[in-house]
């Protein structure tokens, strides 16, 4: 009974497959939306005019000018610091949900370490925000 294939829910054990089966509805909805909207593109392709007479028509939009240079270029990614911070703090936010959803079953003393964790992360975030203003280091 202690296999990882079983989830213990109070006294009743359920197969992991049964628990995962609930997610199939999300996938079915995803698939239904694809099946329902893809015909719109196909019908549009069938009934709309397709004229390939003018090559200028297929140039990328640059406000009427003939485009210069490649569309996909290397460029300076400003505010890159925020993307790096996201990678760290998004995981932190999800960790907090593991604590928040079980807090009614935990002892009250278990809150103190989490508040310490919050304090550390908050300090780290303040430091990262302070550093993110110095754009010359990015």
């Amino acid at each position: 009974m202690d296999s990882f294939l079983y989830l213990r829910k109070s006294l009743k054990a359920t197969l992991v497959g049964e628990a995962v089966a609930g997610y199939s509805h999300v996938l079915m909805m995803f698939g239904f939306a694809i099946i329902a909207t893809a015909p719109a593109l196909i019908i549009s392709r069938m009934i709309s005019p397709r004229r390939r007479s003018n090559p200028v028509k297929f140039l990328p939009m640059e406000c009427g000018q003939v485009p210069s240079g490649a569309g996909r270029t290397h460029f300076m990614m400003q505010y890159y610091a925020f993307i790096l911070m996201f990678v760290v703090f998004d995981v932190m936010a999800i960790f907090l949900y593991a604590w928040g959803s079980t807090i009614l079953n935990l002892e009250k003393t278990a809150t103190l370490p989490i508040i310490a964790f919050l304090g550390i992360m908050f300090g780290a975030m303040a430091y990262a925000l302070y550093q993110s203003k110095r754009r010359d280091i990015w």
Binding site: V26, M29, Y97, L104, L129
Partner: protein, 432 residues
């Protein structure tokens, strides 16, 4: 030039007609009927009065008035109906279409214009249909050197991801497509796909304006995801569950917006940013970067992206209702189904018709759907209003709002929730 079919011959016409009939019969017998059999093998058909409801039985019951209502009911409670019609795609698409029309009329009234007026007898009510026909009959222009597979699939994926988000929203008690134990985490997981689809479509277009818009969308969605996630932690602390239906049920006495107003405000502002709506419409800023990441989209591709973004709007508004405004909870205003119809049947003059199987739905479901829809429409209205009022903000202001102010407010909200829990106001033994 203007003559239709200049070389018309009746013989050719009859030949093409018989040809078409021949091919339809051949394809139906060789492909259609086996395909139906294969599909029927995988669908679990409902059981009615102890007998399995095969398609043959369903067709015969259509002519059997006693069983018509039970057949309709068995279809109503099937998974396919939920996904395609009521709490799923059809309901959401209907509300999204209504939102598009209401937004155009509302903005026009705010700016002292008339708005859509000429399509349809009443206030241009058919404008949306006309727009759909226009979009579907326009040519789809794909820029040269674009990454064609991604460019074609990105709009479809956008709509499908928005639909997957819609599937998690409980509309009435028991009426939800996917009732997950970790519904809220699933919502966060699905929200995480939107920036990826946006940046993929922006990169695949091989054009500069979509690329700039895509990068802006990435920054915006990514930096407002953290306040969005943190602002909902207060609700999870107070309810101790991640299931959205249970969160709604726990609000039967008090809505969470009463206790966690700061969290609700932070969540609302983050939703505005995630939806790229004014004042946070930097990725589509039409006065700076043409149309942002939508620049190279034309025809039905653009139409699908619009449908996806309004489905997303409905889903976020519904999530706000579910988490802070009590979902389907509200006073019972739908009258109960008249009992004499069940016992005596419908009387019209001398004729009495017995209709077994009524009522089709319960009173709770109708009432819940009514309240949910009313609240969702109100929240959608509040999402639309800023478009007529506010200017657009700069990207550095956007990032500083997201990272400095909203995250600090979200932390304050967490401590308010903890204080309410440990002071005994809410939680076990409290008000709820």
């Amino acid at each position: 030039m203007s003559v239709i079919a200049p070389k018309f011959r009746l013989g050719y016409f009859l030949k093409s007609l018989t040809d078409n009939i021949f091919w339809i019969i051949v394809l139906l017998t060789l492909v259609g009927i086996p395909a139906i059999m294969i599909v029927l093998f995988f669908i679990d058909l409902p059981v009615l009065d102890g007998t399995l409801l095969t398609p043959f039985l369903a067709f015969t019951m259509m002519f059997h008035p006693e069983l018509a209502v039970p057949v309709v009911k068995s279809l109503l409670y099937s998974d396919f109906f939920r996904i395609a019609a009521f709490p799923g795609f059809g309901f959401a698409a209907l509300l999204a279409a209504g939102t598009i029309f209401a937004e155009r009329k509302l903005l026009a009234k705010l700016q002292l214009r008339v708005g859509p007026f000429y399509c349809g007898k009443f206030e241009g009510i058919l404008q949306l249909m006309a727009d759909g026909l226009k979009l579907i009959s326009k040519e789809i222009i794909i820029p040269a050197k674009a990454d064609k597979p991604i460019f074609w699939t990105a709009p479809i994926l956008f709509v499908a991801t928005a639909a997957a988000f819609v599937s998690l929203i409980p509309v009435a008690p028991g009426w939800v497509v996917a009732d997950l134990d970790v519904g809220l985490l699933a919502v966060f997981a699905i929200i995480g796909f939107f920036p990826i689809i946006t940046i993929l479509s922006a990169w695949s277009a091989n054009s500069k304006f979509p690329f700039i818009g895509g990068i802006r969308a990435l920054h915006q969605m990514v930096s407002f995801e953290i306040p969005l996630i943190l602002s909902l932690l207060g609700v999870v602390i107070l309810t101790g569950t991640l299931n959205l239906s249970e969160i709604v049920e726990s609000q039967s006495n008090y809505w969470f917006i009463v206790f966690l107003p700061i969290g609700a405000i932070v969540f609302f502002i983050s939703v505005l940013a995630e939806l790229e709506r004014i004042p946070f419409d930097l990725p589509e800023a039409e006065s700076e970067i043409v149309a942002g990441w939508l620049t190279e989209f034309s025809g039905m591709i653009y139409g699908l992206v619009q449908l996806g973004s309004y489905l997303k709007l409905y889903a976020f508004a519904a999530l706000f209702v579910v988490l802070f405004l009590g979902g389907w909870q509200g006073p019972m205003i739908v009258p109960p189904f008249p009992a004499e119809i069940i016992t005596h049947g419908i009387e019209a003059g001398p004729i009495t018709v017995q209709v077994p199987g009524l009522p089709i739905t319960t009173q709770e479901m109708l009432n819940g759907t009514l309240w949910f829809t009313l609240k969702t429409v109100a929240v959608i209205f509040f999402i639309l209003i800023p478009r007529g009022v506010f200017p657009r903000i700069r990207i550095d202001m956007l990032l500083s709002i997201g990272w400095n102010k909203l995250i600090a407010l979200a932390f304050i909200n967490i401590f308010i929730a903890l204080g309410l829990l440990y002071a005994g106001v809410l939680g076990p033994g409290g008000l709820l």
